[in-house]
Every structure is written in C-alpha cells, then in structure tokens.
Amino acid sequence: MEEKTMRLVEPAPQIHHRDSTAKIMWTVVLCLVPAGMWGVYVFGPRVLAVLGVSVLSAVAAEYAMTKFLGKELTIQDGSAFLTGLLIGYNLPPSIPYFIPVLASFFAILIVKWTFGGLGQNWMNPALAGRVFVFFSWTGHMTNWSMPGTMDAVDTVSSASVLGYLKTGLLDYTGSEGGPMAFLRKAGYPQSSMDIQVTEWLRGVFGDGVAGGYWDLFAGNIPGCIGEISALLLILGAAYLFYRKIITWQIPVAYIVSFSLLIWIFGGLRYNAGYFHGNVLFHMLSGGLMLGVFYMATDMVTSPLNGRGMLIFGAGAGFLTFLIRIYGSFPEGVSLAIILMNIFVPMINRYTQVKRFGITEEKGKAA
C-alpha cells in the first residue's frame, strides 16, 4: 500500500486525554480574568498597566532563561504568564511599576529557574515573588486605594479591611461582638450598593442581617488588584472544579480548618468568648479566596495525593489563622501557603497510596 509518510511510531497509550500542561495553565488564566476585570473596573485603568507589566516581565524572564540555557521555548505553556498574572493580582492598585517587574523576575529567575523551570520549583513562584517585594517595599505594598464603586469617600489612601482591623485592634479593650461591628462603629465606609442589598436581605431574612458583607463578597473593598471580588473568584474556581483542574481536597481542608479556628478563637479579641468568631467575615476579606482556589492548589507545589492535599490545606488554614489573628501581619495567606510548600515533600512521603496486593501488616507481598 502507498502513502507511508504520516505513520507515527510511538509507545502506548496511543490515545491521550485532551488535557495538556498548556491547556491547564491557560484555563486557570481564563478563570482569573473576571476577577481581574473587576479590579480594573473599580481601581481604574492604571491597574491594567500594572498587570501588563507583571505579566510581561514574567514572560520576558522565562523567555530569557530558556534562550540563555538553550532550552526549548516554554512561554507558550502559559505557566510564566500565570505566574505574572498572579503576581499582579497580589499587588495593591497604586504600586509603582518597578515592583511588579522585580517580583516577576524574582519569581521566574530565582524561584522557578534555579531549580530547573516548570515543575521543578518547590515554592509557588508567584507567592514567593509577592512575599519578596512585600518585605522589601512594605510601604508600597500596604498602600491601598478605595475602589471606585465606593461613593463619596477619599479614593486615594485608605486601609484594607484587615489592615484597618489590625491597627484598630492594637490597643482595643472594648467588646464589639466582632470585626464587622467594629468596622461599622469606627465609621469604615460602606457602599450604597451594600446598603441596598442589605436592606433587601433584611426584607427576606429579617432584621438580623448585618451590613458590609456584600461589599466583601462582591469586592467593594480596598485590597490587592485581583483578590477583592470573592464572587468572581468563586465563579472562576467553579469552572476549574468542573474541568477537574483543581480537586476539592485543598480548598475544602483549607477553608474548614481556617473557619473552625476562626470560629473557636476569632471572638476572643472582641471579648466575645470562645466560639464567637466571625467566619464569613474572615473568609471574604483579604486574599483568602485567591489563595485557596488559585495558589494553594498550584499542582507543582502541592502534594500529589488526596490525603496529602487534605493535610496541606488544613496546615495552610491553621497558619493563615495564626498569622492573621496572632501575627503582626493583617493577612497571612501568602506566607501560610509558602510555608506549607516546604512541607510538601514530607507530606508526599507519608501519604503514599496503598498499593494493590500489599497487605498493611507485613508491609510486603502477602
């Protein structure tokens, strides 16, 4: 027979699942887009430039590295783009442009490529980049802007929700019932949209509904560019679950352990006693949603098996709680995740899957 030209000789399996590394990375990027667009909408076009700078620097660093090492081009696999995007999402809107550049370079050149590039790094590059610039330029990294959706307030300088709490609670001795009541009493701004939504909710569920949560949920709060809208981040994460790009173990373990600890101990600072922590408030404020769904779940730097992922998530939840409530930083998500990254090899070692045909007691063939 003729036409022998096209025939590939390859090892089995001869067919493949449709997912590829690039598809996974670009899908995560896609799922992050709505939350970023919200950031651009509320903080203005300048943040688009910030995101552009961080992505471009990350991709350029990746490109330079592959050229320098004479390796195959890897920028098309989307991993450098994703790292750059996540770095941008983790920066305050008014950040000077040199900071995303340095954060991206640090992430790609030091954290990723000194270990051999994609898949070889043991620490999440985006978070490492963020933590690097956070400790180097703490002032710039904690200079927040009010979102444009927050009407009639000074949009230039203001504190993030958690930052405001941290400072406000330093010499606090009263009993306010929780962080939300504390913020309201201190006159922390509330958008008109939140007031309307709260009113509507009160109509449905009764007068007990507190105000301010819609702002946290929808993203009418000061914060990093991509972290503020819990709503849009959850929507994107839902698609990642649907596509099985992220699995339930890390997010669930993270949220459950964090919530439990907040619930048990979170009320102490407000002299409300044990089991009076405000879980919803802490879930929706700060970078928890971005961290839980998009960074703790990073395949490269999280454990391999389901059981390991549960331990990893629970550990990250515990550390986030510890740093946020008892540490000197208002946040804690980034640090918690990169600290847990360090434990991944150990977790992997102790959570190996039970092998087929091996009995536990003897530890070898039955």
Binding site: M1, E3, K4, T5, M6, R7, L8, V9, E10, P11, A12, P13, Q14, I15, H16, H17, R18, D19, S20, T21, A22, K23, I24, T74, D77, S79, G116, G117, L118, G119, Q120, M299, V300, T301, S302, P303, L304, N305, G306, Q352, V353, K354, R355, F356, G357, I358, T359, K364, A365, A366
Partner: protein
Amino acid sequence: MKGLKTYPKGGVHPPDRKGSSSDKPIKNALIPQTLVIPLSQHLGKPADLAVEVGDEVREGMLLGKSSGFISAPVHSPVPGKVKEIKDVYLPNGIKTKAVVIEMEGEFDRSGKEQQRREWKHMSAKELLEIITENGIVGLGGATFPTNVKLSIPKGKKAELFVVNGVECEPYLTIDHRLMLEKTDELLEGVEIIDKILAPERMAIAIEENKPDAIQLMEEKIAAKGLNIEVIPLKLKYPQGDEKLVLKAITGAEVPSGGLPIDIGAVVSNAGTVYSIYEAVVFNKPLIERFVTVSGGAIKDPANLKVRVGTPIGDLIEECGGFTEVPAKIVVGGPMTGFTVYDLDTPVIKGTSGVLALTAKEVKSAGRTNCISCGRCIQVCPMGLNPTTLFKKVDHLEYDEAVDLGLNDCRECGSCGYVCPAHIPLVQGIKLGKRMARKKKG
C-alpha cells in the same frame, strides 16, 4: 445500570469508540497467498523450528515445537510450501524467526464437515494435553500459554474460574461479537474448563456497555441449566486486566508479584475459551483468531476471522482501505497496543485489533516537565506512583523503583493517557523493568 461491581481505585474512561464495529457480524477474512508465521507468538521461549525450506506443509501441521515449560507450538494456518525462513519484527518491535508459507494445495479442514470429539469422558490430563498440542495461548493480548495457566500447581486449588468478556480497550469489539455469535461454543468451552479445573464457582464478567451479550449469556445459561454466573461490571478501563476483574468480582487482591491462582482463581479471555473449545472438540490448532479492524481512518470497520500470518495491510484493504492518511497504525487496542510502520506485519496469536487512527484521534500536545498534578497516581489501579517510578528509572535507580512497586505495574497505560505533560510513563516503566531484570542477572 446502578450498583454494578467494579474495582475501587483508579481507572480511566477513554472514549470507547466501539460503535463503528460492534454491530458488524464476524466475517471470514480472505486468505492471502503468502503468510508469515513467527515462531514467537506467545509469552515465554520461542518455538523450535520443525520444518525446512521447501517442505510441503498441510493445514494445521506443526511448524514449531514447544521448547520448554513456558512455550507453545506454532502450526501452519494453510496448506502450502515453506518458501523461506526469515527474521521478522513482531508488532512489539521484537525480532524473531518466522516461517514464510506460499499457499498451495488442498485444505484439510476448512470448508469441510468436521467430526466432533466426545470429550466428556476424558480426564483433565488428557484435555490439557490437547490444549498444549494445539498451541492455545491467552488471546487477550498477553499470550500466556493456556495449558500452563490451567495446570494448577500443587497445594493450590482453583475455586473460581472467570471468563473475561470485559473487553475494556476502546475500539475492540471482537470478544463482544464472539459472545453474541458463538455463545453455545463459548459455554461448551467453559464446560471443558470446568472438567479440567473443577472450580466451585464459574462466572462470566462482562462490562455494562455490552447489554445484549449479558442478556444472551444469561438466557443461554438458564436454558442449558449451567451453573455459571453472568456478572455485569461497571464500565472502567482497565477492568479487563485479570487482577482487576478478580478484584471487581471477589474483592480479593492478587498479592504483589503473585498470580490469580494465589487467591484461588483462574481467568481466561473469551477468545481463549473459544479456542479451547475448537481445540478440544475439533482438534483444531490455534491457526485462526478474531480481529477487530477499526479506527477513524478505516473505511468499513469490521470484525474478522483471520488466519495467523496474514499481513495487517490485507485486512485493512479488505475493510475498504484508508479514508485518509492515518497518523498511526496500531496493533492491539489503543491503550496498550503497539504502533507499526510496516503494513506487512503479520497477525499473530495475540493480535486482537488492527486500528488505523486519524491525527484527530491520536491528538496530543507536546511533552513538558512533570507538573506534579498527581493524576497518574489517581488513575493507577495498582496504587503506584507512576511519576516517581519514571523519575527513578530516569535516574537509573532501578532498585528503588522496584521497591516502589515497579514490577506491579500492569502496563495498562492509564497514567500515560491522563498525563497532561505527555510523559511516556509506561514506556519508562517498561524500560525500568527490563533494566532491573538485567541488573539482577
């Protein structure tokens, strides 16, 4: 169907694409003028050559003698003359000696009424001898000599016999057709095995995607009053693996490094049971087998009864040839099969399918570094860590790989199928097994 049994851990669901051939009745393939019959068509030692160039051979005559305990004889599929003895490459890339036969003369059995042998009074030993002489090997793909499998070692007892009608590989429909068209013969084959093994329990395992076969088997078994269970299984690749089909049915695990008989079970593929029937009832050696010819690039996919030694190109031509230039020609199923370049590659005893796959069907992205997604671990039915095994082999750490279960790998291809980085995990593991064996000496 709900509540069906399956094995608990791992497995994948590749698109099954059986529809294009599952309703095509089995046809006899044309017999080519020249056949190439390799002497190594089974697991174990190749057969010893028993003919010379120029010899006249008759249909079913011995071409190669069994050369050891784990070996099998090879017979001539056609009458004719030995034209040449030459080296050929098997689909798996291994070089072996083969007998080339130019067909001529009269067929002794094909097209003629065959006399039935009454076997019910025969002893297990006599029946096993017939199976040995006729060169029966496992037709599911592993081609393990059947007589060895059915000879139960001292101190063990076969309590359960399972006919494996799972056929979990995509595209392949030959066992499905066999169960539909040769139901009586298959059941007689099971009775023969009952006589040999005298197990307490016999079962036929069929995946839920073959409801017609499940129903027909149940009806025929009831009509004949046989004591055989039909066990429908939930669809999941690679359930056709004998260790996994047993796990699905009994919940028991064959120990690492062991065989099904270690948990008192014997599993045979449906095609093998049919060959046992033919060998015992008609004294017919394994010179023919059933083959599914399919794939997106095949014009008219079909299920064919093929003489061993027929070039795969002839089968493709008989199915109307290619509709487009195929990206891959696969011998076997797409998950475990081998790609071949040469269309003159002969069909051998272990050839269950010939597939011509289009570029779209085999589409895969380029290889990247491992991103530690853990999918290979999730899908491994043996509870192994394929990515770590691959890295160990890559770093030449064979002993560590063996400690981590390298030799437990069933080579089902599930890990390679899901790997988003497209790392050739199975190839690495296979290589590791070879190197570890070599190192051990």
